[in-house]
């Protein structure tokens, strides 16, 4: 279906743009062909209305005969034949319209006058067809380049997302070494705990690998991953690490990009719990508010702490992913208080699948 015909508002606009053409046509008939004024406008109205639709038909041969790759002869022949046919159809329909007008006694002789104009009108019809074909080619080329642009943009977004996801899927080696050291310590003093920690660690690693493959996961799964991670760190930090969770029911089902929260939770441990003598509480909160999802992670912080090298990388990656996936629809705020640190995400909640 023609793109203009398929949209009523476009069609209305298109037909409206023919009104001045109809007026000019009427004036031309009156001035150049000495057709009486009223008859000239009546002829022009019918002929232009038909012409408007005949011109739309140029879309089909234009699409069937792409400008690139076609033989010149075939191309010219196609459009020459199409021009003749279109013009012929137009004039035949125009004759019918004039015959209709002639039924009125006041319009006597209109048919004869119309017939005398046929050669000129035939040329006009061909010219309009060719003009319409040219415009259709222009539109097709524009649409194609827009499509190509869109596609290139999508590819870029996909590539960046893949890159960031890959970056995310890299597990912090220090986390692994420290966890293995804890397991090593537990093997002789508390073998059951050592085994439990091995299993927790394996579970976390496996989930990180699997979740990273998916486009979107329910927030509940992301939270499970974070909690698995925190259970492993709990063994290391003991009573220094406390975890609080405040998540409302509708938020749990909201789809989120995988491993979005994980870097924030890891930062909360690395820059928060590990840097304070007494440790503290990592609080993870999430709530759905209409079409928006708010997620926050807060942790204690040493106000006298050093600026640590590498700080900010995780945060930048999360912000980068949000920008890639949601543009200006999502935001990340990091708020450093005296002895606490808070990161807030605000993103589209998405459709619950």
């Amino acid at each position: 279906m023609h793109p203009i015909l398929s949209r009523p508002s476009w069609l209305a606009l298109y037909l409206a743009s023919w009104i001045p053409v109809a007026a000019l046509f009427g004036i031309a008939l009156h001035v150049l062909a000495q057709v009486p004024l009223a008859e000239a406008f009546a002829d022009a109205a019918g002929l232009t209305a038909v012409l408007a639709f005949v011109c739309l038909s140029a879309w089909y041969p234009s699409r069937a005969q792409p400008i690139a790759g076609a033989g010149t002869m075939g191309f010219l022949l196609t459009h020459a034949v199409a021009a003749v046919i279109s013009s012929g159809v137009w004039l035949a329909l125009g004759r019918a319209w004039v015959a209709l007008l002639e039924r009125d006694p006041g319009w006597q002789g209109a048919g004869a006058r119309y017939n005398s104009l046929l050669p000129g009108l035939f040329l006009v019809g061909m010219l309009f067809y060719l003009l319409a074909a040219a415009l259709h080619y222009l539109a097709l080329v524009a649409a194609k380049s827009r499509q190509a642009e869109q596609k290139a943009l999508e590819l870029l977004v996909q590539a960046r997302e893949a890159e960031l996801k890959a970056l995310r899927a890299q597990i912090d080696p220090h986390f692994l070494f420290n966890s293995l050291n804890s397991i090593s310590a537990l093997t002789s003093s508390d073998p059951a705990s050592a085994r439990r920690m091995c299993i927790e660690l394996a579970e976390f690693l496996r989930r990180t690998l699997v979740l990273g493959q998916r486009e979107r996961i329910p927030l509940a799964e992301e939270l499970d991953l974070a909690e698995g991670y925190l259970r492993v760190e709990q063994v290391r930090f003991g009573s220094r690490l406390r975890v609080e969770r405040e998540v409302d029911e509708p938020a749990l089902a909201s789809p989120v990009p995988p491993l979005l929260l994980q870097p924030l939770v890891e930062n909360a441990v690395r820059h928060g719990i590990a840097q304070t003598l007494e440790g503290g509480t990592i609080k993870i909160a999430a709530k759905r508010d209409g079409s928006r999802l708010h997620v926050s992670v807060s942790n204690p912080r040493d106000p006298d702490g050093r600026a640590r090298p590498g700080a900010g990388v995780g945060l930048r990656n999360v912000a980068g992913r949000l920008a890639t996936l949601f543009g200006t629809e999502a935001r990340l705020d990091a708020i450093a208080g005296g002895d606490s640190y808070l990161v807030e995400l605000d993103l589209p909640a998405g459709e619950v699948s």
Partner: protein
């Protein structure tokens, strides 16, 4: 293999399990006596003074004070074996003459090797604190905080909170928010550590935070003083005055 006097060892790590595994390995060696365990750098600085260990098993990443900062604050010689999950500090560790640098998870053989090295080498050597002060190639400069030892206590002063410093023989007197602290360091050394955009040597014996200077007044003939916001008067030498002018 029974040594006449056992090696006195102090364990420093903020993770209980990390200390536990060291304790387990070391307790099997009859030549080792564990004199204490510390969960942070402050405790470690105090414990080294009080228990006088021969050897420190020292973690690097700890809250408040890291392993290198602990060494900087020690007042006596002690052999050091670093135990850490991070391999990126190895070069700096040997620059402060660490006996060994062990990576977590750590094996009993590696601990045995480190002990053998300590026994072979003895604990003699230049004071570690001096070495740390000399060798800080990968410490970011300017530093953003200063550590001062006061008996067994440690003060942490943010560089931005330092008003001015005065040279006192082998020490510097640090003035911050109306309080003063004495630190074993030369003024030249301190100046090299601090941000030159912020701290200016106004005099042979004075280093001043330029943000604290309220005004400059003529003093005696041909000389001037700087007056800080809290009214403190700081002498300005001729070249010191030139440096201040250059700065503003």
């Amino acid at each position: 293999m029974s040594a006449p006097t056992p090696l006195r060892v102090l364990l420093v790590d903020d993770e209980e399990l990390a200390r536990r595994v060291l304790r387990e390995y070391l307790s099997r060696d009859p030549g080792v006596e564990i004199v204490g365990e510390c969960a942070n750098g402050f405790e470690a600085v105090r414990a080294v003074s009080e228990t006088k260990p021969d050897l420190l098993f020292l973690d690097i990443q700890m809250p408040k004070l890291d392993g290198f900062e602990v060494l900087e604050l020690l007042d006596r010689e002690v052999a050091v074996v670093f135990v850490t999950a991070f391999d990126e500090h190895a070069i700096r560790a040997f620059e402060v003459h660490a006996v060994d640098y062990l990576l977590k998870p750590v094996s009993e053989e590696k601990i045995g090797r480190a002990l053998a090295r300590v026994r072979e080498r003895g604990v003699a050597g230049p004071p570690v604190s001096r070495l740390v002060a000399d060798a800080k190639p990968d410490q970011p400069r300017p530093i953003d905080r200063l550590l001062v030892r006061d008996g067994t206590r440690v003060h942490v002063i943010q560089a931005s909170e330092l008003d001015y410093a005065v040279a006192r023989d082998d020490y510097v007197e640090l003035h911050s928010g109306g309080k003063d602290f004495l630190k074993h360091q030369t003024l030249n050394d301190l100046e090299a550590q601090l941000d030159p955009e912020r701290f200016v040597r106004t005099h042979r014996s004075y280093l001043v935070n330029v943000e604290r200077i309220a005004k400059i007044e003529p003093y005696a003939k041909d000389s001037r003083i700087a007056v800080l916001h809290d009214g403190t008067q700081i002498p300005l030498s001729r070249s010191g005055y030139a440096r201040i002018r250059e700065h503003s």
